[in-house]
Symmetry: C2
Subunit: 186 residues, 2 copies
């Protein structure tokens, strides 16, 4: 295996596609993002990186709440639309029906199979982007997307983001905390 350096880049192999929900000036707004992951187990936290100039950033700073909404592959048009236009130019409050859960200022996109309600825990100034870390206050899931009471990837069909392209989830290649049991020291 021959390696070459390709320079420092904001690179990750695969990422989730999420819609960051925030109220801006009292109105729900949704922004497409992919730079998101889990940040902590206990208490449960997630994080998402957002460019400091974004309209959504203003809403998070204002209310100290936000939501991460998980769209399905069948919502790829609405999802990408929310990444193409800014809330500054266009009112995106009607792209999804908004509801509110425990937090009264984090809009939840009703049509998305899963909504993660977050209270802002910390925002880290990284440079062009702020990393917003939120404590998960509640998760709402579509009853048709659950198996044994938990969100099921096979029913959600989430959108993966990588190199400017949206992908579906592929075939199972192994079970975690299990596949490695067949490892033999070289």
């Amino acid at each position: 295996m021959a390696k070459v350096t390709v320079g420092p880049m904001p690179y990750m192999s695969v990422m989730p596609t999420v819609l960051v929900g925030a109220n801006v000036k009292g109105k729900p707004n949704y922004m497409t993002a992919a730079w998101a992951t889990v940040a902590c187990m206990a208490p449960p936290m997630v994080c998402v990186a957002i460019n400091r100039v974004r309209y959504t950033a203003k809403g998070i700073e204002e209310n100290k709440t936000f939501s991460l909404n998980i769209p399905s592959t069948r919502q790829v048009v609405e999802t990408d639309h929310c990444g193409l236009v800014s809330g500054v130019q266009a009112d995106k409050s009607a792209v999804f029906r908004s509801t509110y859960g425990k937090l009264k200022t984090a809009p939840l996109a009703e049509e998305c199979p899963v909504n993660i309600e977050c209270r802002l825990f910390e925002s880290v100034e990284c440079g062009s982007h702020l990393l917003y870390i939120g404590e998960v206050m509640e998760i709402h899931a579509d009853t048709t997307c659950l198996t044994d009471g938990k969100p099921d990837i096979a029913k959600i069909n989430p959108i993966i983001y990588a190199q400017g392209t949206y992908f579906g989830v592929g075939k199972e290649v192994g079970k975690a905390f299990s596949a490695g049991k067949t490892y033999h020291k070289k």
Copy 2:
């Protein structure tokens, strides 16, 4: 669409499977992680959440450097092995051949198609986990995994992690910053 609350959880739809590389007591160690994403565009940064009790955490604190190594689906056994056993009990320095790049203390797993070299920018205490944010100092990629000089997902075949299971990448479902152009206001 009927929604139910499923309680606060450390949930994300899909995540990348990475091997966090760190030197601990002068020896390379690799730990499997999935709670990772990009944290900033300029300067380029990535982040990864690691339980504070982990052996790898000690190495990151010690050297202020780490690597995120992207394994391929064909490395699912070695990858899962690094999540099953702790560096405290087992020497994992021979699971991959280690090389070093710009940073002299962030081991790079040679067999992984992509290695991201990071200098610790900030560690955020979230609770059970610390969120390590690292500035990307260099990216090394296998020459056979590049297209137009950039890492290509179709050649890398990265491992997706979700609900205790490893998956491959599925079919393309749309182009980002493009698919949404067909959106029509409801």
